[in-house]
Amino acid sequence: MTLALFIEQLLNGIQFGVMLFLMAAGLTLVFGVMGLINLAHGSLYMIGAFLCATVALATGSFWLGLVASLAGAAAAGAIVEIVVIRRLYDRDHLDQVLATFALILIFSEGTRWVFGSFPLYLDIPAALQGAVSLPGGAQYPLYRLSIIVVGVLIAFGLYLLISRTRLGMRIRAGESDREMIGALGVDIRTLYTVVFALGAALAGLAGALVGAIQSVQVGMGEPVLILAFVVIVIGGIGSIKGALIGAILVGVVDTLGRILLPNFFELFMGPSQATSVGSALASMAIYILMAIILAVKPQGLFAAGSQ
C-alpha cells in the first residue's frame, strides 16, 4: 500500500470520527447533565439531513439548507424535550430506552410518510467542490477536508462554551449536582431544554454535512447512533474530551481496519479468503475495541467525575 493511499484513508477516518463527534457530543452532554439515554438522537441527525436536502432543493442554496438543518433540528429537539423527554429524567434507564425507542419509530415512520421511501440527494456546494493535493501526490476532496475543519472548530467552540461561559458553568454544575444548582436559583428546566436543543442542533448539523456525501434516507441515523454510543462509552460518559478522542479513535480504527485487515490476512491465506476474514473482522473491530477498553476500564477512558 502506498503512503498516499494510507494518508487518504487516515483522513477519511478522521473525517468519519469528526462526524461521530458531532453526534456523540450531544449524547454525552445530555447523559452527563440530565442522566438520560437518548436513542432518538439518530432521528435528529436524520431530520437535519432531510431539512438540509429539502431546503437546498427548494432554494438552490446548500448554505440555506445548512442553516435550516441547524435551526430545525434544534427546534425539533426543544419540542421533543418539552413534550416527552422532560417526563423521563427521574425514570430509570429502562423506561428511557423504551420511550426513546418509541420516538425512533415515530420519527422514522413520520419521515417516510412525508418524504416517501426514496432517498433524497444533496449536492456538495460549488465553493467546496474539487480536491486538494496532499503530500505524497494524492488528491483529497475539499468537502471532506472542510468537514474535518468544521468538526475541529466545533470541538474548540464547545470547549470554550463549557469552560468559559456562564451557560457552560451551569452545565458543569448540573453535571456535578443537579439539586444544588436548582436550589441556587438556576432555572433548571430551561437549562435542560437548552442543552438538549444544543445537542440536537449538533446532530442535525452532522446529518446535513454527511447528507452531501451519502444519500439522505429514512433510517440513516441508526448505524451512526450506535457508533456514537460506542464512542461515548469508550470516552467515558459525560466527557466532551472523551467523546472527541473516542470519536477519532473509532473513526480511524473502523476506516483503516477495512483497508488494512484484508491486506494483513493476505499474508497468510488466499486473497478471497483473506478478504472475507478481513472484512468480517474489520466490521467488528470497533466493538472489539470497545469491549477491550471496557474490560480494562469499566467507566471508559475519561469518566467524568463519579456519577
Binding site: 425507542f101 419509530l105 415512520e109 450506535i226 472475507s276
Partner: protein, 326 residues
C-alpha cells in the same frame, strides 16, 4: 388464588385456545400468529429473568435469539446438503432433529452469554446496556460479512426440522410444540424465582452489598442468571427460525433486542407472565395497525410512548395491581 394467578391462567389458556378457534373458523393464518406470540414470548421470558429478576438491562438479547436461529439454520442446511459440519478432529454432521438443534442452540447461546457476561457484568448501569448492545452488534456484523452461511441474504431452511412422532409441518402441531416449550420455560422461571438462587438474584438487584455480606458473590449469581436467560432466548431463536424457515442477520439486529425488551416492559417487568402478555399485545397491535395503515409503526410508536409515560407497571400492572412483596 391471587388476581395475578387468575390472569396468568387466563393468558395461558387464552393462547392455547386461539389456534383451535382459528381452525374452527377456517382461518389458519391465526395459528401462525399464535405461534409467533408463543415464540417471541419465550424470548421475552428469557430476558425477563435477567431484566426483571436480576435488574440486568441487556440491550443485546438479539445476539442469543439470532445465535439460536443460526444454530437451527446451519444444522438444517448441512443435513439438507448432506455435508458434514466439520470433519476434523471428529465427524460432525448436520441435523434436522429439533431436539438436537435445541440442545445446540441452548449450549451455543449459553457459552456465548458466559463469555459476554464475564466482561459485561464488570460494568453496570448505562455501561452494561451499551456493552451488551456492542457485543450483539459484533455478532450482527459478523453474520453480515461472513459469506459461508448466506451473509446479508440469510439462510433458508427448505424443510422445517422434525420432531419425533410429530408432523411439524402441520401448523397446529408446531404451535403445540412451541406452546409446551414456552410453558416449560415459564415453569422453570417460576421455580427459579422461588428458589434460593432466585432470592439471591433479587437481592443482587436490590442490594448487592448486603448479598456480598452474607457470603454470596453477586457477580456469580448474575452471571448464572444471564447465562440461563440467554439460553432461553436462544431456544426461542431456534424455534423462530423454524417458524419462518429462514434465518438472516436481521434476527441479530438491535431492533430485535429493543422489541424483546418491549415485550417485557409492556407486559410488566419481573412479572412471570408479563412477556406473554406483552408479546401478545405487541403482535396483535402490529397485525391490526398493519391492516389499517401502512404507516402502522408511527402509531405503534405513539402507543408505546403513552404506555411508558402514563402506564407504569405494564399490562399486568393494570390488570393485577401493584406487585405485593412477600
Amino acid at each position: 388464588m391471587s388476581r395475578e394467578t387468575v390472569i396468568n391462567w387466563a393468558l395461558a389458556l387464552g393462547l392455547l385456545a386461539v389456534p383451535f378457534l382459528a381452525l374452527m373458523q377456517g382461518e389458519p393464518f391465526y395459528i401462525t400468529l399464535a405461534t409467533r406470540v408463543a415464540i417471541l414470548a419465550l424470548a421475552g421470558v428469557g430476558l425477563n429473568l435477567a431484566l426483571g429478576l436480576g435488574g440486568m438491562v441487556s440491550f443485546g438479547h438479539a445476539a442469543f435469539f439470532g445465535l439460536g436461529g443460526y444454530a437451527a439454520g446451519i444444522l438444517a442446511t448441512h443435513a439438507f446438503n448432506q455435508e458434514p459440519l466439520f470433519a476434523w478432529p471428529f465427524m460432525v454432521s448436520g441435523s434436522n432433529d429439533m431436539l438436537l438443534i435445541w440442545l445446540v442452540a441452548i449450549v451455543l447461546s449459553a457459552v456465548v452469554a458466559f463469555l459476554i457476561g464475564l466482561i459485561a457484568l464488570r460494568t453496570s448501569g448505562v455501561y452494561f446496556i451499551m456493552i451488551t448492545l456492542a457485543f450483539a452488534q459484533m455478532i450482527y456484523y459478523f453474520a453480515i460479512s461472513w459469506p459461508a452461511y448466506g451473509g446479508e441474504d440469510g439462510l433458508s431452511i427448505y424443510v422445517r426440522n422434525g420432531f419425533p412422532e410429530l408432523n411439524t409441518l402441520d401448523p397446529i402441531q408446531f404451535f403445540l410444540i412451541c406452546y409446551v416449550v414456552l410453558m416449560a420455560c415459564l415453569f422453570i422461571s417460576a421455580r427459579l424465582r422461588d428458589s434460593r438462587f432466585g432470592a439471591a438474584l433479587q437481592v443482587a438487584r436490590q442490594n448487592p452489598e448486603r448479598l456480598a455480606a452474607t457470603g454470596i458473590a453477586p457477580f456469580n449469581i448474575r452471571l448464572v442468571a444471564f447465562v440461563i436467560s440467554a439460553a432461553m432466548t436462544g431456544l426461542a431463536g431456534a424455534l423462530f427460525a423454524d417458524l419462518n424457515r429462514f434465518v438472516s442477520p436481521s434476527m441479530l439486529s438491535w431492533h430485535v433486542s429493543g422489541e424483546i425488551m418491549i415485550f417485557v416492559i409492556l407486559g410488566g417487568v419481573g412479572r412471570l407472565f408479563g412477556p406473554l402478555a406483552g408479546a401478545a399485545l405487541f403482535i396483535v397491535m402490529e397485525f391490526y395497525l398493519g391492516g389499517i395503515t401502512e404507516h402502522w409503526q408511527f402509531f405503534l410508536g405513539i402507543i408505546l410512548l403513552c404506555v411508558v409515560l402514563f402506564v407504569r407497571g405494564g399490562i399486568l400492572g393494570i390488570l393485577a395491581g401493584r406487585r405485593v412483596h412477600g
